[in-house]
C-alpha cells in the first residue's frame, strides 16, 4: 500500500470524535501537554548524563535508551494530535512500532540493570554514611590533636629528663674530678672503664692511653699490680664492699699506701659487671701514726725515767754524802790507805750512777746529747769492766780484742756504754746454761769510715723466727724476765749516732751482736776529749 493512498483511504480520527470541539480540545490539549512533558525529559536526561561524569557505560546506555523511549512516546502523542485531522495511521503505526522496540529494549536493559541499580545507595543511606564518615573524621582529628598534645608533652618531659640527666651527669663528673683521691671504675676483667683526673695524673697518661688497661699495665711494680687485680677480683666475686689498704707505686718514685674502698657494680643475683674504687693516699698518715706511737712511747718512757731518776737520785745522794762524811772522818785517822781509795772508788761509782741516770733521762726525753770524740778502746774496756763484774766468778772466760787501739769515735760515752753493757749482759744471761761460757768483745775498723764493735757469746744463739724482730720494742727472748726494751733502746741509740746494729748467728754456736759508729779524729792534746770519768 502506497503511503500516499492512506490520505484517500482513511478518515481523520476527528471523525471518530464526531468533530465535537470539547472532545477534540480535550485530546489535543492532553496529548500536547504529554508530548511537551515527554520532550522535556530527554533534555533533562541529556543534561544529567553530561553533568555526571562518574556514570559507567551501562548506565549511560540506559539513560540514552530511556531518553529515546520518552522522546518517541512524546512523538506518538504529537502524531495522535495530527491524526485527528490527517489520517497518517501508517506512519503512526510505524512510529509506534519504533517506540515499542525502543521501549522493550529499555525495559529489558532496565531489568538487566535493576540489581545494579538496587545496589546504588539511596541519598539517605549516603547521607548516613557521610555523617558516619564525618564522625569518624572528627574522632580522628580529635585523636590526632590529642596525640600531638601528648607528643608535645612527652617531648617536654624528654627535654626535662635530658636536662636533668645532663645536670646530674655534670654534678657527678664535677664531684669525681674535685675529689682529691682516685676514683675509677673497672669491668669484670679489671680493665679501666673510668678514671678521674687524680687517677690519670698519678698514672701520668691521658684517658685514651689507659682506657681498657689493667693495673699490671699502669703500675710500676707488676707484683703490686697483680695484688691490686686480685683485690678487685675478690670484691667482684664476693659482691661485697671492702675497705682495704693497698700498696701501689705509679711512677717508680716509691710505693705509697692507699686506703681503698672497693664497691662491686651490680649484685650477685643480677650479675656483677664490674667495680668502682676510691683510693686515698694515707702514706703520710701512716708515717705520722708510727711517729706518734713512737713519741707517745718515748714520752711514757720519759716520764718513767724522770720518776726513776728522782727516786734513785735520793739514795744515791745520800750514799755519796755518807761516803763524803766517812772520808772526812778518816782524813785525820791512821787507817789503811786502801780504805780511803776504795771509799773514793765507791764515791766515783755513785757519781757515775747519777751520771747514767741523768743521761738516760735526757736521752729518752729527747734532750741534747753530748757527743765528743771518744777512744773506742777505753770506751769498750770501761763498759766491759762494769758489765763483766762478777762474771769470772761464774766461770765465764771473757776476752776483749782491739784490732785498732788508736781508733776514736764520735759518741755520747754514757749512751754507748749503756749499749755495750746491755749487749754483754744479754750475752751473759744467754750463757747461763752453757758448759764453758765464753764472751768475746772485739773492736775494729769497718768499711765507710765506721768502727765496728762485736759482742759474741757461745750461748744457744738466736732463734731464726725472732732474729728480724729482735730490735723492735717489747720483743723479749728472755720470757718473763725481760721487758724487751733493751735492744730497742740500743738500736735507737746506735741509729741516733749514725751507726747500725744487727745480730748474726755466730759461725759456731752462740750469738753475735754487731754495731757500728762513725770514726772521729783523735783530739789534739789539751782539747776536750771524753777520755774517762769526769765527776759531775
Amino acid at each position: 500500500m502506497d503511503w500516499r493512498s492512506q490520505f484517500e483511504m482513511f478518515m481523520p480520527h476527528g471523525m471518530c470524535l464526531l468533530w465535537r470541539p470539547e472532545l477534540m480540545s480535550l485530546h489535543v490539549i492532553s496529548d500536547a501537554l504529554i508530548a511537551a512533558a515527554y520532550f522535556t525529559i530527554p533534555f533533562v536526561i541529556f543534561w544529567f548524563v553530561r553533568s555526571r561524569d562518574d556514570l559507567d557505560g551501562g548506565h549511560r546506555a540506559l539513560a540514552a535508551l530511556f531518553a529515546a523511549f520518552i522522546g518517541l512516546c512524546g512523538l506518538t502523542h504529537i502524531v495522535s494530535i495530527v491524526v485527528l485531522w490527517i489520517p497518517i495511521y501508517i506512519i503512526e503505526g510505524w512510529l509506534k512500532a519504533a517506540t515499542a522496540i525502543v521501549s522493550v529494549a529499555t525495559a529489558g536493559l532496565m531489568i538487566a540493570l535493576a540489581p545494579e541499580v538496587l545496589k546504588l545507595p539511596s541519598v539517605r543511606t549516603l547521607r548516613r554514611e557521610i555523617d558516619a564518615h564525618h564522625a569518624t573524621l572528627a574522632a580522628l582529628t580529635e585523636a590526632r590533636v590529642a596525640l600531638a598534645l601528648r607528643a608535645d608533652r612527652t617531648e617536654t618531659e624528654l627535654r626535662q629528663v635530658t636536662q636533668d640527666q645532663r645536670q646530674s651527669s655534670t654534678l657527678l663528673s664535677t664531684v669525681i674530678e674535685a675529689v682529691p683521691g682516685m676514683i675509677y671504675a673497672k669491668d669484670r676483667g679489671g680493665r679501666l672503664l673510668l678514671a678521674n683526673k687524680a687517677t690519670l695524673d698519678l698514672i701520668g697518661k691521658g684517658w685514651p692511653e689507659v682506657e681498657g688497661r689493667q693495673a699490671r699495665d699502669y703500675l710500676s711494680d707488676p707484683r703490686e699490680g697483680e695484688q691490686v687485680m686480685a683485690d678487685d677480683r675478690r670484691v667482684m666475686d664476693a659482691g661485697t664492699v671492702e675497705v682495704i689498704e693497698e700498696i701501689a707505686d705509679f711512677h717508680g718514685n716509691g710505693s705509697r699506701v692507699w686506703l681503698t674502698t672497693k664497691v662491686p657494680l651490680g649484685d650477685l643475683a643480677q650479675g656483677i659487671t664490674g667495680m668502682v674504687g676510691v683510693s686515698i693516699d694515707i702514706t703520710d698518715r701512716k708515717r705520722m701514726e708510727k711517729e706518734f706511737l713512737h713519741i707517745s712511747r718515748r714520752s711514757a718512757m720519759g716520764e718513767m725515767a724522770t720518776a726513776i731518776a728522782h727516786e734513785i737520785n735520793q739514795p744515791l745522794g745520800a750514799i755519796s754524802l755518807y761516803l763524803g762524811g766517812c772520808l772526812t772522818l778518816l782524813a785525820d785517822a791512821k787507817v789503811d790507805g786502801r780504805v780511803i781509795s776504795t771509799l773514793n772508788l765507791a764515791n766515783d761509782q755513785c757519781q757515775r750512777a747519777g751520771d747514767i741516770i741523768r743521761r738516760l733521762r735526757s736521752f729518752v726525753s729527747g734532750a741534747d746529747e753530748i757527743r765528743r770524740p771518744v777512744s773506742i778502746m777505753r770506751l769498750v774496756d770501761e763498759a766491759c769492766g762494769l758489765a763483766l763484774l762478777g762474771s769470772r766468778e761464774n766461770g765465764v772466760a771473757s776476752t776483749i780484742e782491739h784490732e785498732a787501739p788508736e781508733a776514736w769515735v764520735l759518741a755520747d760515752r754514757v749512751q754507748i756504754e749503756q749499749v755495750i753493757v746491755n749487749l754483754v749482759r744479754n750475752g751473759l744471761d744467754a750463757m747461763a746454761g752453757t758448759d764453758k761460757p765464753a764472751m768475746l768483745v772485739s773492736t775494729g775498723i769497718g768499711p765507710a769510715g765506721m768502727a765496728t764493735i762485736i759482742v759474741r757469746d757461745n750461748g744457744p744463739g738466736i732463734r731464726p723466727d725472732v732474729v728480724d724482730r729482735l730490735f723492735e720494742a717489747f720483743v723479749s727472748t728472755k720470757g718473763v724476765k725481760g721487758m724487751g726494751v733493751g735492744l730497742s733502746i740500743c738500736r735507737t741509740i746506735i741509729e741516733g749516732h749514725g751507726g747500725k746494729i744487727w745480730a748474726e748467728p755466730d759461725d759456731g754456736s752462740g750469738a753475735a751482736f754487731h754495731f757500728t759508729l762513725p770514726l772521729a779524729d783523735k783530739p789534739a792534746e789539751g782539747e776536750t776529749g771524753d777520755v774517762g770519768h769526769d765527776a759531775a
Partner: protein
C-alpha cells in the same frame, strides 16, 4: 773547820736529811734539819745561816718557800737541790731568789764548796 752560822736543811727524804747532816757535821758545821717547809717556818731561825732545801716536797715546794722568804725579807741564802734540774726549773728557781741550784746526787766536795761560797758574805 767551823762556821759561826748554822746550815738549815729541809728535805722530805730522811736519808738525804741525815746523810747531809752527818757529812756537814763531821766537816764542822752546825746543822738543823726540817722535814718540810711548814716545819721550817714553825721554827724559823733568827740567827745567821744558810738554807739547803729540796725542790720537790709535799706541801710547799722549795721554789715557793724561796719566793715567800724573799717576799718577807728573810735574807737567808738558799741552796736548792733537785732530782732533775732542767733549764726551765733552774731559771724559775734563780728568779725566785735562790742563790744556787744543785742537781742530785751532790758530792760532798761540791756541797762544801757551794756552802762556803754562798755563806762567804755572812761573815
Amino acid at each position: 773547820m767551823s762556821a759561826p752560822w748554822i746550815v738549815h736543811i729541809i728535805d722530805d727524804d730522811e736519808a738525804v736529811r741525815t746523810s747531809l747532816r752527818f757529812a756537814l757535821s763531821v766537816t764542822g758545821y752546825a746543822v738543823e734539819t726540817y722535814a718540810d717547809a711548814a716545819d721550817f717556818l714553825g721554827r724559823l731561825p733568827t740567827d745567821r745561816g744558810v738554807l739547803i732545801c729540796d725542790v720537790r716536797m709535799p706541801g710547799m715546794n722549795g721554789i715557793e718557800l724561796t719566793r715567800m722568804m724573799q717576799a718577807q725579807g728573810l735574807a737567808l741564802p738558799i741552796i736548792l737541790m733537785t732530782g732533775h734540774a732542767d733549764g726551765a726549773l733552774q731559771t724559775e728557781a734563780l728568779q725566785a731568789g735562790a742563790a744556787v741550784v744543785l742537781e742530785k746526787p751532790v758530792s760532798l766536795p761540791t756541797m762544801l764548796e757551794t756552802i762556803a761560797r754562798v755563806g762567804a758574805g755572812l761573815g
